[in-house]
Symmetry: C2
Subunit: 754 residues, 2 copies
């Protein structure tokens, strides 16, 4: 099969650089000073029997993070980062993840290395067998498994172009076996570039290595089968026959005990592969990169992808088993070289890079690809730039590998906790969606970010699939309900008919009509607002009535935002946001205009600067609260109070910098769920039920929230929001956090009993 020729077919070109990826990453849980923890797997992560993302490997302390299958390197990395974030923030506050492949110093007593406490007895028994067969200590090594699948359409296209194989399954088996052989032959280069298991800490070896090496984990000192466990990679038939024989003869307990650097994947069992065809290949030889937060970086992933395609393209010189055998020998050689010396295989390495350049040129791959090849090529010349090289350089400068592990581990810990409302990898999405994704990953729902900019995700538990947009738009609402809420006139009509108090008012479609109605509103408290827009934009409030000139301005402001406007009676009182989900008020929030509290010493500007240090404050809705500005509007507001930014307020004096209470203009969000009299919670619930919404943020004006509501004069409903922010309730400025995102998950997946 001349893949090299076939790959040059123009129609296949768009498919060459697309592929599917999955990562599995192991990490030891350690204390912040690098000792193995004694705690159980975090309970908050829910049930390990189905958790798709966060499992335990051999030991109870050894996390296994598993990404979903992704369609790009970027995507798989963001999933890994996100899962990493969730894992870190699900652990006890004094625990972190050990960033090295080699475990930290292990307890002297074997009993203190606790086998993972899994539900399934079979799984526990297997781990006990492993402990007996290989010893517990070698099982404590961690690494990254890289799952790779060529684009379906590429494989299908190649299959169509050839006539040697009659079935797609046979063809795929041939294809992936070629890739496997070539990878096994050349994987020493990966060990050279990305090996990062230089030294062993106490308790790993019976006897220590005297110098650092490129990768203990990828050498015979790593977690490998005994030397007599060998299979042929000639073709799938030979491979399976050898493997079957090893199991029959008791040399292996079962398939998964075969710890080759590669696994062939596709069937439920290996024996299915001839029929199903190999669907993807699992590379198991990547060490954790301590310099990357999640243990691997994008550059590496891109190179690995390219290398896989190169393995398909590359011709094989020797007989298959010789070819693989040479590879094994070379890998062992390179793995045990000193990280700072040039490899003995430099010439072979250069030959490989030359071939890669030819491959890139022949397939006319983009310039960036060519540049990446050139970048890694340099590392042949510069062993100190490899991962093991960098670690060893640091050690030579006095930072032992263990100290490096602690330092980077702490750094990643700090990063994960700095902005706990963010989810790494998805920090471009809306906060509510980030928090929902966090909770979903934590509880073991399968997530799929279907459209990042549209905040469109899906969640799955077993066969139960739910789509969610903006974290609160779900299948639980009927289509017409948010459309009711999006239209303030219709909402008011529905609520009024159901007997709730809403402000009286009128809708106007033209400036003329609105102006003509001025005399109707003259002398009364009124609110002028756009009909459909949100976030308080374009709203003018005249508590004691508006002059004709002010009224005109207000109309202009409102029409600037919408084609229709509303003029409504002003309801006196305080506005509260009730977040209602599944018929129950889950949170009540009071929003207070941007303000600072004096200490008798600092200026307003200084107080603002200090308040803005809160990591809860950010900008452009990327934090639960916004920075307080000191711009024109704020200065005007100060001026009206006879103040400037340089004024020094008295101790305890509260200075307001804004009239409006929107969080988006620096306001504070205060949870008042428990302080609110239950009668208003009841009203909010009933109103949302009248609208028929599963999820709504309903705004009530209440003159006295302590006094029970007795009649319709004690409150007014001014709006019901169909896309209510959740993050401000989860991370309020003060008061109790309300994890509304968990309520959404409970609503969608009642069977999980979250």
């Amino acid at each position: 099969m001349n893949y090299r020729n076939l790959l040059q077919t123009p129609a296949l070109k768009p498919l060459l650089l697309t592929a599917r990826f999955g990562l599995e990453k192991e990490s030891q849980r350690v204390t912040k000073t690098g000792q193995l923890v004694k705690t159980n797997h975090p309970e908050v992560l829910g049930n390990r029997s189905y958790h798709p993302y966060i499992q335990t490997d051999f030991a109870e302390t050894q996390l296994e993070l598993i990404t979903p299958v992704a369609n790009s390197v970027t995507e798989v990395l963001r999933y890994l980062e996100a899962i990493h974030d969730v894992a870190q923030r699900s652990m006890a506050l004094d625990e972190m993840m050990w960033p090295l492949s080699m475990p930290p110093a292990l307890p002297a007593d074997d009993a203190e290395i606790v086998i993972a406490k899994l539900d399934t007895h079979e799984d526990v028994l297997y781990r006990r067998y492993l402990a007996r067969a290989y010893g517990k200590r070698k099982q404590m090594v961690s690494g990254i498994h890289f799952n790779f699948e060529f684009d379906d359409a590429l494989v299908q296209g190649l299959f169509t172009l050839q006539d040697e194989y009659q079935t797609l399954a046979d063809f795929k088996n041939n294809l992936y076996m070629k890739v496997a052989r070539n990878y096994l032959h050349s994987r020493w280069l990966i060990t050279y570039l990305f090996g990062a298991a230089a030294v062993a800490e106490a308790g790993y070896f019976d006897q220590a290595l005297t110098t650092p090496v490129r990768s203990i984990r990828n050498s015979r000192f790593g977690y490998t089968n005994k030397a007599d466990i060998q299979v042929s990679y000639k073709d799938l038939t030979a491979y399976l026959a050898d493997l079957a024989h090893l199991i029959e003869t008791g040399k292996l307990s079962e398939e998964k005990e075969f710890y080759a650097p590669i696994r062939l994947r596709g069937g439920a069992k290996m024996a299915d592969l001839p029929k199903t065809g190999i669907r993807y290949i699992e590379l198991r030889n990547l060490d954790l990169n301590p310099f990357a937060r999640s243990g691997i970086d994008k550059k590496t992933l891109e190179f690995m992808h390219l290398f896989m395609l190169f393995m398909l393209w590359q011709e094989t010189a020797d007989a298959p088993d010789t070819w693989v055998g040479t590879g094994d020998d070379w890998n062992e050689l390179v793995a045990l070289e000193h990280p700072l010396v040039q490899t003995k295989l430099k010439a072979e390495g250069q030959a490989l890079f030359d071939q890669m350049h030819q491959f890139v040129a022949e397939l006319d791959l983009p310039t960036a690809v060519q540049e990446a090849v050139s970048y890694f090529e340099q590392l042949l010349e510069h062993p100190e730039w490899t991962l093991a090289g960098q670690m060893t350089m640091a050690a030579e400068k006095g930072q032992t590998n263990a100290a490096l592990g602690v330092a980077y581990g702490q750094d990643y810990y700090e990063t994960a906790w700095e902005r706990p409302y963010q989810l790494a990898g998805f920090s471009g999405m809306e906060l509510s969606t980030q928090i929902l994704l966090f909770d979903a990953i934590q509880k073991g729902l399968e997530i799929d970010v279907m459209d990042e900019t549209d905040q469109f995700i899906s969640l799955r538990h077993h066969e139960h699939l739910e789509y969610v947009k903006n974290a609160n738009m779900t299948s639980k609402d009927s289509y017409i309900v948010p459309l009711i809420m999006a239209n303030k006139t219709v909402t008011k009509e529905v609520l009024a008919k159901a007997g709730f108090r809403v402000p009286l008012g009128q809708e106007f479609a033209t400036r003329e009509a609105a102006l003509a109605a001025y005399e109707l509103f003259k002398g009364q408290g009124i609110v002028v607002k756009p009909k459909t827009t949100n976030y308080g934009i374009g709203i003018s409030i005249f508590k004691d009535g508006a002059s004709e000139e002010d009224y005109l301005t207000a109309i202009e402001l409102a029409f600037a935002e919408d084609q229709s406007i509303l003029v409504e009676e002003f309801l006196a009182g305080t506005e509260y946001r009730f977040f209602v989900l599944d018929g129950k008020v889950r949170a009540v929030l009071l929003r207070v205009p941007a303000n600072v509290t004096g200490d008798g010493q600092r200026t307003i500007a200084e107080l603002v600067a200090e308040k803005n240090l809160d990591p809860l404050r950010g900008s452009h809705h990327r934090a639960p609260l916004e920075q307080i500005q000191l711009g024109g509007i704020e200065k005007l507001m100060l001026k009206e109070q006879g103040l400037t930014p340089d004024s020094v307020p008295k101790v305890g004096e509260i200075v307001y910098l804004r009239e409006n209470s929107n969080v988006s203009s620096g306001g504070d969000s205060i949870d008042v769920t428990e302080a609110m009299h239950p009668s208003y919670r009841e009203i909010a619930q009933q109103a949302v039920t009248a609208i028929g919404a599963a999820i709504s943020g309903i705004d009530l004006i209440i003159p006295d929230a302590q006094k029970p509501a007795q009649g319709s004069q004690d409150y007014g409903i001014i709006e019901a929001n169909f896309n209510p922010a959740m993050h401000m309730h989860v991370y309020p400025f003060s008061g109790k956090s309300r994890r509304l995102t968990m309520d959404v998950l409970r609503l969608l997946f009642p069977e999980m009993k979250l």
Copy 2:
């Protein structure tokens, strides 16, 4: 009770000119030449046992059109116009509505005047009793009942300001009794201004009146009780006592036989009124205005509203019964005056108008109100401007009242049928909503247009309420489903996962990324389109691949419409729209680019002009098809074919004026539901089911619609639309009409078995 003072309270001012209205209008069904029809009430109107809008009055030929309660004169009139439209278009094609209060010439034989064939035996018995007691002929007179209710808040406000009455019910009874007395006293002015029952046709009278009068219907020759049926209007107690006595003594068979010009409304029975309070007042003395399509015009309604407020304001000079008695006498006098002579009550009329001016000034009512009063004031001087005056003028010029009835009746008939896709009163709304409202009214669903510009309506049958937006957004879809369809990337992902063929492609968020990907698409057929916008805007199609320059232009065009764009493989074939509702394909539409067919004689410009005469063609989506333009794009398209607008195509030659097939650029819509091979209908249904939509317009590319679909290469799904137009299926250019709006009603109201 000094209402005059109370009404001047500033806080009440915004409420003075708001009120609630309802109209009932009777009309005889006649042939297009003005003979009473012999047919039954139209079957298509569904069940008279619950129809809220279209009923029969006394006779089977006598339609009674009933509006819902409306909050303004404009609203009530549009409802009446709409119901009028539905009634007309639900009748046989050779029937129309008689526009006069006085019936057309009646058959000599009483038996030919058929009593309404109602379901309830009791109702039929009552009509039989009326026929015996009053004769059938007088029952054939038609009129308009005007139901009027002051603004609740006004009544409540007035109640709060006084202390004479302890309960709101008592207060309302006092208020409406005053209005009733004053109206009875002054109603002669209404008879003068709006009386329009000048002459009787054959078969009405035993003996004829010798001259025309203002209103036979409002005189003793109209449909009134016998002279000894009198009640006191002193107060509600006296009124009810008198009425009870009349029934007890057998002078009236039941309450509803009391045919006063006014009815007091509010309770289920009259006897409830002391407890419930009078809620509104029904004025029964308006004749049909033959010059207004629906029998009454806006000016009249506005004057009636003002007159009601005036009746509340006006002081009463005499003792109540005297006051009412004088009114009765004066009304009889005016009703029987010749329409073209000045009324004997001109001085009293002038006094009334003087009071009205004072009333308008005192309450500071808008200028328009004052002008309206002045307008009607002139009619005292000009009896020929009154309705009866105009009818009599026409008669003197040779057009008898009967001929006038035929002429106006035919005119209104033509108007109703001219654009059958429009619904009078709601022609500003989207066509699909107009058609849905038509069907809903026809079938007797209670409609409420909650927001006209937002196409938001509600429909009710008994206690079952449904909201509908854009005629297709309903409670039957879950919220997330249209959001899936609104996002083309997500839609494709969902469909692809479910095994359907969708075009391969990529999404780009920046021009740079899209440009960088050019080489991936080079040489292939591609489609470049904005990610979320609709109606074919911003889409470029390159069937055989795009040059880099064309690709760049296409990207710019797409980005002009959206923040993200899609580049997809081009699927060869014809695009069909499948409208799927409730799991079934209800219509399949082929759209053909704007075109004309030659006749060997006329130029392209002439052929276009002729094709545009089709009343199905309009502009700005206000007709099912759009006018074909002859602008720059069309001329360019002609030029590319070596043609100009002055070219004369051969007989049968089809000349295309556009490349795109959108109906919005003059394309033809062709129903091909039956011609489409069922296998594609099956695919469309299954795809919509996979998305989970109750309603979707899904677009398939099919190379050969006659050949059964055998695999995924035989079709491609390019879009699923969450707001699919329905009007183009209901009124296609050619092929069978598919009344999808009825399918929507069936989906929403299965219990009605429509």
